[in-house]
Amino acid sequence: MSKLSFRARALDASKPLPVFRCEDLPDLNEYASINRAVPQMPTGMEKEEESEHHLQRAISAQQVYGEKRDNMVIPVPEAESNISYYDSLYPGEFRMPKQLIHIQPFSLDTEQPDYDLDSDDEAFVNKLRKKMEITPLQFEEMIDRLEKGSGQQLVTLQEAKLLLKEDDDLIREVFDYWTRKRKACKSASLIPVVKQEKRDGSSTNDPYVAFRRRTEKMQTRKNRKNDEASYEKMLKLRRDLSRAVTILEMIKRREKSKRELLHLTLEIVEKRYSMADFGGEVMAEVLAQRALIKPTYTMPLIPLSSNQFRHQDHLELKDFKPKPEKTEVVRTKRKYEKKPKVLQPSSSVSQQSGHSSLPAFNAKDLNQYDFPSSDEEPFSQMLSGSSEAEEDSDPDGPFAFRRKAGCQYYAPGQGSNWPWCDPGDPRYRYSLTTLTVPHRCVGLARRRVGRGGRFLLDRAHSDLDNVFYGLDPEMHSLPAQSPNGKLASTSESNTSDRPAPPDLGHILLNIKSCRWRHFRPRTLPRDSDSSGLYRGLTRVSMANPRTQTGGSTSQSRTGPGPAPAAALTAEQYQQHQEQLALMQKQQLEQIQQQQAGNAPAALTTQGLVSKTLDSASAQFAASALVTTEELLAIKAKEEIVLGIGVNGVLPGSGKWSLHFATNSTTTANTATPSGHGAAAQVLMGNSVRLGMSSAGGTVNSITTLNARHIPRTLTAVPPSALKLAAAATANCQVPKVTAASSLDMVVRENHDQETTALNSIADSTVAMEVT
């Protein structure tokens, strides 16, 4: 038949199919064979199951009869529906709510125990009930907790007591019962649960393991590791960021405090200006009162401003004037930090106040993150020092030794083996001592080298002190000379041929004839020193570049001209020490001879006043606190230039003491001619300070001053010094301020103090310190 010769087109689902009744198409059967062209659709059953006897029977029955007959159904295992006890099992009625049932989330989380009491438990509970009180629910709760508290290992009785809130007897009973039951039970839990998958994957094919967790697209181990790594990175990032936030908050606090401090300082300054307190007397008075009344609230900035003002008001400081505000600001800061340090040794009260003045600064926090402060570096270092000093365990307080990064530290010498400990060493005996600035004799003193190469003067009281103080008559004329601005005015005085006042003739004679040792630090470089005491002292002056070559003279600079500066080599220093000792010895002998009857014990070292005579120079202090002594011992042969900035000037009274605070960063003597100008100026300003405080009944004031920012010319620096300078620290600065001005101030200050305090001589020991 031609009808069969062509293939039927594919069935098009989108093409309309006319619907016919079979009776309307009597010739349909002729076309029946073509129907096979329509592909058979799969049934969707497993092929073998499709062939199963009962299904095939049912399908054929369906096709034959249109609908399956009852006896052609697929047989299934029977089910019963006549549970007699059903009504008692599920008691009560449940009325259908009118609204569709809507369950609230979490409403299904009941606190009911998952464990259900079985017949054995019931028997046990009933038995137990005779002894103590227990309900089935209570029992179920206990078992439930015990079961859920147990992992691979069963809960111990001890843990059970923690888990259960019942009393101990009941717990013990139930625990024993549970342990027995648990041991008899083969399965993992008394609460039947569907087997969980094991982590090691061994349960992949266990048919009893069900409901495994779906891991989204199985990841390889590698990827998972990456995920962990990135997670950790995120954690770290978060930590870092929160740390940064903390730091910023602390900075904010610090800067706020700074601003506050500045405002307060300004206010004080204005007040003082309006009441014309240019000398700082009112200030000191107020401060002393405050220290007594409200010790904890002493303002940290107050004691130091007097000096600054004097700088600006009384001294015509050309360099300072153009930017007084700036220096003021920075100085304030500096003073602020240093205050506690200065005050600490003198009185505990001020120490306390010093600390209380630093509430906003948590130096430890600051250091912890090691971030650069907005301030100059020493700021934070010193801060950390002062804050750590708060710890009671630190006996040295702010003077405690602190390691500095990048420094080499040598082992300390043999304990108490200091040269001056040996009384026989002539170099360290007490001798008559005259300071260069201010130029006067301070009586008997011995020199020693302190920490960081500082030179300390131990002073001794003697009955002749009055005489000694008067040894240098030029002293009193010094202040008068200062304001006149004579650059080159120098008054020379020689130890040996100093004009002696008539009443001291005898002593002077002794001194002259070298029967007494008289130590006078020299500021003038002198290779061929006639006295032979000071050889090789090199002095370089920037403002006044001419090198002093006068024979055996010591200079006392009173004008605004260049301040004396000296460079001392190790050799020279050692030599100097030797000579000092010798002098001391002779001096002692002399005194003993003279006053054998009167005051034989007068010269003993009772009431030592340790003074800073000499401060380590810039390089020295900065380069790691290696004591000069050690340096000398170890590197005696090396040419190390010691920049001796200033020879400490101390008024004679034991009551007044001077601090020569050398800021390690304001190293004046390294010759770096350019740059750092502003910073140097700042530092300079900061380092000059006058600290006053009073404690107890006696006025005990500490004057801190730093007058060792002495300009030098590069050309005059010996090559060795240059070498050291180059190797030295980076914070070498050349101050723009002429040292003379500050020196002048110092002298004046000293003079004032001296005049007020000369009459009372107290053997008070004040630790002198050079930072």
Partner: protein, 506 residues
């Protein structure tokens, strides 16, 4: 399992007279043997269908044999006493040549699960000439079969070639087409690659049914629960279900009718019922008409109930897999209300997101409610949901025998309803496209076509396809529709589909 790969040629082991016997000369019936076993059919007549011994156990010194009637569904498998075995026609276990199937696609139903029994027997055989007496003990002290996983080994094809004259009534149907369809949808699964290197692999993670029976073993082939008491019903499970193993030995497993929690004793159930106050499935009621309600349960939010439901359903669904958690599924539980509460009648599960247009994953009417129209009601409800979603859908494959019958019946009635109602306008023949039928009913196009084919409605007539309605069809349909009084009323449905893709994963 590697040791199975080089078996002896079967002919060497099989032959007349190579039958092992126990001491008294009787044949030893071991696992893998085939023999006619007596069973009653629906008309309560005796039948002796061929059956395979799957397991042997001894209860009170009496042996019991777990038999699978060949070409009968597994749900009819049962423990039988020795007197029901026709030992005269005993066929000893045959060991097929093992061709390791590299593609990991074994026959959907391994004829007999592999076990050490066979190997032990073989070893005994090889030694038989020397130590005949020992061979018996060797076969009897067979290790428990349960410990041996089956190999995805023999295919039907190899079986057929080895035993061309086997004479079994099993029809050897190449399993390829159906398999291929399945394989396509899991093409990206890592499982298929994994199985080739012998590593136990996890099944695919979508869907709820397995057709790949490579994981099938003797344990899952046997029912493990004797009886389940649920509400006022006692159910005889049809298939294996992974209830906690310690509960499988119980004569009756008790379930709470409302939360479906499994309990080992009536006492426990009583105690549980004092604490469980549920009287309906723990979900939102989205449909109610008369006593029939539907509750929607999120498999992620209500895991306990979902898992309990799955465990129960597995007792009656052969291909259902409980391998993975229930998170990606929604469960629609149909209940019938009475004064005690909302009693579960049946349920279907549905993937929240289906990549294959499935609108039903598993569907089950509990046996006590079967053959009363509830199945069709469940199916109808599933298509009503699809209509609300504006999608066409199809049940997940493979279908069970009952599933196929139910769906075919529903599809037939639904399509015939449309065709019968078609009005002719302008005096022309009423016509309709397959796509239109699909859109109206939400039945997937393929299912429409297959139903039309099954009903033999598609004819090629004069150069075009037409649909013809025979008198038989029309009458049958009208008869059926007359009996079908349970219907879903779309107006009673309060359902808003959720876009699960926007909610993260499930």
């Amino acid at each position: 399992p590697v040791t199975h790969n080089a078996p002896l040629p079967p002919c060497k082991r099989r032959g007349p007279g190579r039958v092992r016997s126990v001491g008294d000369g009787r044949l030893e019936v071991i696992e893998g043997c085939r023999l006619p076993v007596l069973r009653k059919n629906q008309e309560n007549e005796d039948e002796w269908p061929l059956a395979e011994i799957l397991s042997v156990k001894e209860v009170a010194s009496r042996k019991l044999y777990y038999v699978h009637y060949i070409d009968f569904n597994k749900r009819l498998d049962e423990w039988v006493t020795p007197d029901r075995l026709d030992l005269k026609k005993l066929q000893l276990p045959k060991k097929e040549a093992k061709t390791p199937t590299k593609n990991g696609l074994p026959g959907s139903r391994p004829s007999s699960p592999e076990r050490d029994v066979v190997r032990a027997g073989r070893e005994g055989e090889s030694q038989m000439s020397k130590r005949k007496a020992e061979s018996v003990s060797l076969t009897t002290q067979v290790p428990p079969v349960t410990s041996v996983p089956s190999l995805p080994g023999s295919t039907e094809v190899t079986q057929a070639s080895v035993y061309p004259s086997n004479g079994t009534s099993r029809r050897l149907i190449p399993s390829q087409p159906g398999r291929k369809r399945k394989a396509n949808c899991v093409g990206t699964d890592e499982d298929s690659q994994d199985s080739s290197d012998g590593i136990p692999s996890a099944p695919r993670m979508t869907g709820s049914l397995v057709s790949d029976r490579s994981h099938d073993d003797i344990i899952t082939r046997m029912k493990n629960i004797d009886c389940i008491e649920l509400g006022r019903h006692r159910l005889k499970p049809w298939y294996f279900s992974p209830y906690p193993q310690e509960l499988t030995a119980l004569p009756i497993l008790y379930l709470c009718e409302f939360c479906l929690k499994y309990l080992k004793s009536l006492k426990c159930l009583q105690r549980h019922l004092t604490k469980c106050n549920l009287r309906h499935p723990p979900g939102n009621e989205i449909y109610r008409k008369g006593t029939i309600s539907f509750f929607e349960i999120d498999g992620r939010k209500n895991k306990t109930y979902s898992q309990n439901l799955c465990l129960l359903a597995k007792c009656f669904l052969d291909h259902k897999t409980l391998y993975y958690d229930t998170d990606p599924f929604l469960f629609y539980v149909m209940t019938e209300y009475d004064s005690k509460g909302f009693h579960i009648v049946g349920y279907f599960s549905k993937e929240k997101e289906s990549t294959e247009d499935y609108n039903v994953a598993c569907i089950l009417t509990l046996p006590p409610y079967q053959r009363r129209g509830y199945g069709k009601l469940l199916i109808e409800f599933s298509y009503e949901l699809s209509k609300v979603e504006g999608k066409t859908g199809t049940p997940e494959k493979p279908l069970s025998d009952l599933g196929l019958l139910s769906y075919r019946s529903y599809w037939s009635q639904t399509i015939l309803e449309i065709l019968m109602d078609l009005k002719s306008d302008n005096g022309e023949r009423p016509q309709i496209t397959i796509n239109e039928i699909s859109e109206i009913t939400s039945v997937k196009k393929e299912d429409v076509i297959s139903t039309l084919q099954y009903l033999n409605l598609i004819n090629y007539y004069k150069g075009q396809y037409i649909l013809t309605l025979s008198e038989d069809i029309v009458e049958g349909h009208e008869r059926a529709m007359h009996k079908r009084h349970l219907r879903i009323d779309p107006k009673c449905l309060h359902f808003t589909p959720k876009d699960w893709s926007k909610r993260g994963k499930w």
